[in-house]
Symmetry: C2
Subunit: 422 residues, 2 copies
């Protein structure tokens, strides 16, 4: 597009960016790249759920319409045991959200003594969680809501910087947890290397009740022909003598219906019993009808894989468009770098330091809404003010292309303005 | 049956009871009167839900399959606004359980400052809840789980003894709440009089953040031609200058599917905003597909009433059988009194003081499982050891009759043994 034009002096580039932005702002756009929501066509892939289940009886004779079954439908757990790398008898199937389960694990840790803990977290002066950055804003919001202190840890291409993690967990018993999105991470797309997973499992922690909140949200959400396999954290923790260290979360939110799927929690038998005992006070059981509906629809782990191939067919062109537009419009400008994920829901765009907030502001003025700059960091504070999360899934392809083009105009505008000291 | 036989001296009655019990124990029964579960035929009334919803779009264009809509589907809330006496814009529709919402209100009160509160409940030395007895064991279990002290308050035919309640809430700022099942109460079947509701609304409490946990679980669950109407607590609280006092709960668990219904929370706008803000950290929204499913199935408040008439047609014969058998077998013996509820799910049987545990034990030995004696009281401790909760809904009629006959045999056995000093 316009970047191919001639004057590549800074004043010329700035001038061009200003004209492009003026043009953009005049288009009256109303585009949204904020949240990792499935597009309607993705939801249509699961429309068959609306006619299910065909009956109301589980394999063991349970009437799924009635109360009970706190651990969830065994047959559905068996499918996701494979997907989430958790033995089925250590996996719980719950309500429509794994975020709820993360929240509730924090609540129960605060208000009752966990396996291996000396006291309730609510009775301790400080609780600290490590937050690999860039990371997921809803994880950080949970910590803030409960007064849990957050310490950012840098990510590299193989996961969190393990030298930093090992030092922090070893030296401070207040460090009780770490948030991890181990596969196709939100928002960088990074998948943890086997070595990173092994180090997380075996590291020595000052806190006896340290927990890894392993949000495997994109376990089946590949975008290439070679799905990433990550190491089995739960097994490695057990082998390393830390069987209770991992809390594994997953859901069908981005497999079937974002708002009406099934969430999963997996851990050691001791942790599962602890959570189930606490859950038993809260609920007489999850929605087993919806679990049976999912079981009939997905059938088995192979069914999940086939379904995720259909999701990929819808998502991959959008991710390809993001890459193409970023390359065409920003490649070689020195104004940005970006990730090219093999799965998941996000692309991370790194702009010139100090420019992310301004890019997001200018984009909003032109009618393109982005996730607030800083959301990828604890307390909404990206110290370099450089990281922007792009969520390409929800808009249609043409709309996405318009939004991405507009975003690159804003990156050029703000980047060149900064370079020019304007 | 056997009670019509001749020898009505105590030794004769005891002898007969022993023979009847021996006969009972020899039958190898396996009957369950423990929980207030709907019977399969009741669940069949809602089988149409399994083919719904017919689409995936709410009235305002919301795609119910996707994320969002923290307050729940407005059209469904409008229906239950009528049923639960809460304005629709102050009513939240949630997941499959109102017990969850009660739990979460306690959690959020413990871990964040409620409207009107001076501090989080977790930061206070003592938190006390009043527990009208007999009451619902799951309410008491929530208090125990969170270390909330329980004080029993006697019930009479018009609700909790308000003289006692008014005194306790006025004199101790640690008294932060009261559990109420205001209509067809669990387990006594008592409905609160208008005067009781008005006194709850207007009483002066030492705690500025006192809350009435108003579990209106049986709002639409009548068993007679004249459904009970209770006073509108939320309106009365507002009129009395205590707008934030009432937390109203309800659900479709015993309207549609016990395990796959929709829970509701209603309160003042301030409380609803407070809960919604806390919920927003926990969840990206409830299962709106299930809410649309319920909307299409129930249609309107009149649809709920018509549906509950069909439920009544299945339940009323069971409750009538309980009354008939208790009258025939225990009437005039002086060994028991019992409630004859106009709605709800339970009958309360009061046996001779000191006999309830033994009756439950003997019944279990004969293959008839009852809710543990004491469950109707805080800490599982019924100081008179006299109250037994009967849940007639789940068994088939013939099975219920067998179980009730067996239970009366046990009441006679234990009652006469006690009278005889055996």
């Amino acid at each position: 597009m316009t970047t191919q034009m001639s004057d590549d002096s800074l004043p010329g580039l700035l001038d061009l960016a200003r004209r492009d932005y003026k043009d953009l702002a005049g288009q009256g756009l109303k585009l949204d790249l904020t949240r990792g929501k499935p597009a309607p066509e993705q939801l249509d892939l699961s429309e068959g759920l609306l006619d299910l289940p065909s009956g109301h009886t589980a394999a063991d004779g349970t009437d799924v319409r009635n109360y009970g079954g706190l651990r969830g439908l065994p047959e559905l757990r068996a499918i996701f045991a494979d997907v989430l790398q958790v033995p089925a008898d250590q996996l719980l199937a719950g309500g429509n959200s794994s975020l709820e389960m993360m929240h509730d694990c924090l609540v129960h840790a605060l208000l009752s003594v966990m396996p291996g803990a000396e006291s309730r977290w609510a009775d301790q002066e400080r609780i600290v969680f490590l937050c690999p950055v860039p990371g997921y804003d809803r994880h950080f919001a949970l910590c803030e809501r409960f007064g849990i202190e957050m310490v950012a840890v840098p990510m590299d291409g193989s996961g969190p910087d393990m030298d930093v993690v090992e030092r922090l967990v070893a030296e401070d018993a207040a460090v009780k947890g770490i948030w991890c999105v181990p596969k196709y991470s939100n928002p960088s797309g990074v998948s943890y290397s086997d070595e990173t997973v092994a180090r997380l499992a075996r590291m020595e922690t000052a806190a006896p009740d340290f927990r890894i909140f392993w949000d495997n949200a994109y376990a089946a959400h590949h975008l290439t022909d070679e799905p990433v396999e990550i190491a089995d954290l739960l097994a490695l923790c057990a082998e390393s003598g830390h069987p209770d260290r991992a809390f594994v979360f997953g859901s069908t939110s981005k497999i079937t219906f974002a708002g009406a799927g099934v969430g999963f929690f997996g851990s050691s038998a001791a942790n599962v019993d602890w959570l189930t005992a606490n859950n038993s006070k809260r609920s007489i059981g999850p929605d087993k009808v919806n679990q049976l509906r999912h079981l009939e629809f997905l059938r088995d782990a192979e069914g999940v894989r086939a379904h995720m191939d259909r999701q990929r067919a819808l998502l991959a062109p959008k991710f390809a468009a993001v890459q193409r537009i970023l390359s065409e419009e920003l490649g070689g400008t020195g104004l940005a770098t970006w990730t090219d994920p093999d799965g998941g829901y996000f692309v991370t765009l790194e702009v010139v330091e100090g420019c992310a907030k301004e890019v997001v502001r200018r984009a909003a003025e032109a009618g393109i809404v982005l996730t607030p700059a800083g959301a990828t960091h604890p307390y909404g504070d990206d110290p370099r003010d450089a990281t922007i999360r792009i969520a390409p899934s929800f808009p249609g392809l043409a709309e996405l292309e318009r939004a991405m083009h507009g975003l690159t105009v804003c990156v050029r505008l703000v980047g060149y303005e900064k370079a020019a000291g304007a």
